[in-house]
């Protein structure tokens, strides 16, 4: 039996499940916050969900314009 199976099938699982639950709640909160911040950024950029801003005009820059 490998280590993972050992933990899953033993009483040790009881010791870690609270920690697991806390981490999952934390993850959910962070993802929700990220989505809120992203929506705010989209709004700020004047970008709606279905109207991505057109690409910036850099396509015509030639290699000779490079400064490096």
């Amino acid at each position: 039996m490998d280590k993972i199976s050992y933990v899953m099938n033993s009483l040790l699982w009881g010791q870690v499940k609270t920690g697991f639950a806390v981490l999952m709640v934390l993850t959910a909160v962070i993802i929700i916050l990220s989505v809120i911040f992203t929506a705010r950024e989209f709004k700020k950029a004047g970008r709606t969900d279905d109207a991505q801003e057109p690409a910036a005009d850099n396509g015509g820059v030639s290699d000779s314009d490079n400064t490096d």
Binding site: T38, D50, N58, D65, N66, T67
Partner: protein
């Protein structure tokens, strides 16, 4: 596309190399601490799981905050926090999950610092963040190997301290006085007409799937520590080379070619190390490409864009803590199917290759 020579000698590429070193030192320290603390106790399951969640998921929120306060040196703050945490581990007597939170906060801040500096200084190129990201693979295996020895904490802590000057110098490349929107305006890799939220979601799925696939790759040849070292070297090299080649020959071309070519090498290399390593190198090349996709639709918040990729990496790893498949046949089917899905997703979201301003 800027050509290979210009991709290798890009302006401000020094920022990528400085954060390569910082990232390397950081992962050496973190993996040394985590592996040492895991030992053979009952903590071995929860401890690395907690590390993954606490270090990688919050980077989106930390990144967003750092986007709002660009003069804050996240790299330096994170480095100092990691040093404090490792000293606490070395001293002993502190609650180990409390110290782990400090270590992970430091890790997350330093990652965000690296992303902000390299993205904001790259002028739309991928090689800068790719070189930064690649340092982590070398650090993970070095820290893991060192933890298996009787080495005390202090040499590793000293090594991390040596990264502090680089966090200060690299901050100069961040151009904190300029707006991210302006600095990232050359990131235009997303397909026109595709909603920004769809780009972010699909990119998240690609990263998560590829993160999961990383644990399904059939590698019967990997039986010794040297093999593990070679595996991580191939991964790290692939991440850096992927960004450089994407700058030189086009993001879409490299994303698709590396994904398609990696599959036969990975499947046929189950027992042949060299073939497998080539496959893994190719497999790792898309790392910076998904980041560039995110930045393309979140130009005003590169830290937040980066955080989505690290959160996705963690989501891909979570199933591995519960189920590990060891059958070659099943893993081959999973890797093949997920590769096809990722290629379709990339085709749907990556725009046509164009020249970028070097």
């Amino acid at each position: 596309m800027v050509g290979l020579k210009k991709a290798l000698t890009g302006k401000n590429l020094a920022s990528g190399w400085m954060y390569f070193y910082i990232h390397f030192a950081m992962e050496v320290l973190c993996f040394f601490c985590v592996r040492k603390q895991m030992g053979n106790s009952a903590f071995f399951w929860l401890f690395p799981f907690a590390y993954d969640i606490l270090a990688f998921v919050p980077q989106s929120v930390i990144g967003y905050l750092n986007d709002r306060f660009p003069k804050f040196n996240a790299g330096l703050t994170g480095t100092v926090l990691m040093i404090i945490a490792s000293v606490m581990f070395a001293a002993g007597g502190f609650p180990r999950y409390f110290v782990l939170v400090i270590l992970c906060a430091g890790n997350a801040l330093t990652h965000v610092g690296g992303a902000e500096v390299t993205i904001r200084s790259s002028n739309g190129r991928l090689s800068h963040p790719a070189v930064f990201v690649s340092g982590g693979a070398f650090g993970v295996i070095t820290g893991t190997m060192l933890a298996k020895t009787d080495m005390p904490y202090w040499p590793v802590i000293l090594f991390m301290i040596s990264a502090i000057p680089f966090t200060l110098i690299a901050q100069k490349y961040r151009n904190a006085g300029e707006s991210a929107q302006e600095l990232c305006k050359a990131f235009n890799y997303a397909k026109k007409g595709v909603p920004a939220s769809v780009i972010l979601l699909v990119s998240f799925i690609i990263v998560a799937l590829r993160s999961y696939m990383g644990y399904c790759l059939p590698m019967e040849w990997k039986t010794t520590s040297l093999h593990s070292v070679l595996l991580y070297v191939a991964m790290g090299t692939g991440k850096a080379v992927g960004g450089i080649l994407a700058d030189a020959y086009g993001v879409k071309r490299i994303a698709l070619l590396s994904s398609i070519l990696s599959l036969p090498f990975i499947l046929l290399g189950n027992k042949i190390m060299l073939v497998s390593l080539i496959g893994i190198m190719l497999f790792s090349m898309t790392m910076s490409i998904t980041l560039a996709l995110n930045v393309s639709v979140l130009k005003s918040a590169p830290g937040l864009a980066f955080g989505y990729t690290t959160a996705a990496l963690t989501f891909g790893v979570i199933p591995i803590f519960f189920v590990k498949i060891s059958s070659y046949a099943i893993n081959s089917v999973i890797v093949s199917a997920l590769t096809v899905i990722c290629i379709a997703a990339m085709l749907a979201t990556i725009g046509k290759d164009e020249k970028i301003n070097g």
